[in-house]
């Protein structure tokens, strides 16, 4: 899937709409995104942000590019991911957790009930009467953490924990130029 950067045939260039979100991630990929530093300024000549921690917009509207950081660990993550898929022409898994579950998925070989019991009931240093949180506003955790491609179709993957600012810059500029992004040695990392 390539990006259309003009308004129809022969139209003037338009700004691309970009949405970003962190699901079961640590915001490290967003921090790395900011590591493109002053290149943010030329990027902002080409794109405008829809839903993103940068704008604090709460729901994703129709967008050209969606960047998903983090895997899927609870019911809310699934809803948000599906909203992004429904609205973004090109959806990108950004970083190790979105690509393969990453650190949160390290709980996957354990039973969810056992984890909650240990963390909130039987672990060390808990307050008297500590109990498993059950506020109805809290999204229910999933039994396992999943990479985003196990839930929706993903167009591109940018691995790394986090991918470096240079990798994100290279990837995005190639994509915006209508090319299939490719990272060479030194930019492609899983760690």
């Amino acid at each position: 899937m390539r990006i259309e950067t003009t308004n129809g045939a022969g139209g003037a260039p338009r700004k691309l709409k970009v949405a970003t979100v962190s699901l079961a991630g640590c915001f490290g990929c967003h921090m790395s995104f900011l590591d493109i530093d002053e290149r943010l300024l030329p990027l902002l000549e080409l794109v405008e942000f829809d839903r993103s921690p940068i704008t604090d917009i709460k729901h994703c509207g129709p967008c050209d590019i969606g960047l998903i950081e983090g895997g899927v660990c609870n019911a809310e993550n699934v809803h948000v991911l599906r909203e992004f898929r429904a609205n973004c022409k090109v959806l990108i898994a950004l970083g190790a957790c979105a690509v393969n579950g990453g650190l949160p998925a390290q709980r996957n070989h354990l039973e969810l009930a056992d984890i909650l019991q240990e963390v909130y009931r039987t672990g060390h240093g808990l307050a008297e009467g500590s109990r498993i949180p059950d506020d109805p506003e809290l999204p229910l955790p999933l039994n396992q953490v999943h990479p985003v491609h196990e839930v929706v179709r993903i167009d591109y993957f940018l691995p790394g924990c986090p991918p470096s600012g240079d990798a994100i810059w290279t990837f995005l500029t190639q994509l915006i130029e209508g090319k299939d992004p490719s990272l060479g040695h030194g930019l492609l990392h899983y760690d």
Binding site: A93, G102, Y190
Partner: protein, 243 residues
């Protein structure tokens, strides 16, 4: 003695008895591989080194070089198949590179970089594989095992100890330790064994040296795995016998 074959259109000399892989390695040409090592008999199990010889698929570590062979190696078709094999390996184990001491020195990771693998693609197994930290000098993290049997071969053929073996069948295949308890501490395994230094991934790890070389300055941080065969790979090329 001056026989040669074509590897991606390039003349590669070989001596009779050499495999395609051995001749390519001696010539400094990279054929992707994980279970092959120049010092050990070919195993032919990882299939990463599959090439096309005269249009037919063959594992280059087990096929003897012959004059006039036309061998395809780094074609998009073959690299795509290699990428799929790598993806299968990644989802079968728990390959969480950010927490792995071997990251940057790992042949699985570097080969996946070389093949341009951006996603594991398949659904993850997330198997439960407890680590064995019983040995005073060596940690075993089974999460990362790719069943190449290099440790099995090294321990059996070089160290003469038979510390490792594969057990189980199919997707249940797994690495086991040869002691009554199944723990490494209850074997005669030593950190100086050849088997302690042969693991291409992060299963057999010497303790207390994991970050002696910092991330970013490691083997495959400095150059891709294809940038000439490593000194290791060239050293024994031509010595080992096809399996």
């Amino acid at each position: 003695m001056n026989d040669s074959f074509l590897l991606d259109g390039e003349d590669i000399p070989f001596t009779p008895g050499q495999t395609v892989m051995q001749a390519a390695a001696a010539a400094g040409k990279y054929i992707p591989h994980l279970c092959w090592h120049p010092d050990f008999a070919a195993h032919g199990s990882c299939k990463l080194c599959t090439v096309k010889i005269g249009g037919r698929f063959a594992t280059s570590c087990t096929v003897r070089a012959a004059a006039g062979q036309e061998v395809e190696n780094r074609t998009e078709e073959l690299d795509a198949k290699r990428r799929t094999l790598l993806q299968l390996l990644f989802v079968e184990g728990n390959h969480f590179c950010p927490s792995c001491e071997k990251s940057g020195d790992c042949a699985l990771q570097a080969t996946a970089y070389e093949m341009g693998m951006l996603t594991p693609h398949f659904d993850h197994f997330y198997p439960d594989r407890p680590v064995d930290a019983s040995h005073p000098d060596v940690l075993l993290d089974f999460n990362r095992c790719i069943l190449c049997e290099l440790c099995v071969r090294a321990s059996r053929d070089v160290d003469g100890k038979n510390v490792f073996a594969l057990a189980g069948r199919g997707t249940r295949s797994h690495l086991v330790v040869n002691s009554d308890t199944g723990r490494l501490a209850d074997t005669d395994f030593a950190a100086t064994d050849r088997a302690a230094a042969v693991c291409p991934v992060g299963v057999i790890l010497k303790k207390r040296v994991g970050f002696a070389v910092p991330i970013g300055l490691r083997t495959y941080d400095r150059k891709p795995i294809s940038a000439g065969m490593g000194a290791d790979d060239k050293a024994g090329a031509g010595i080992g016998e096809a399996g």
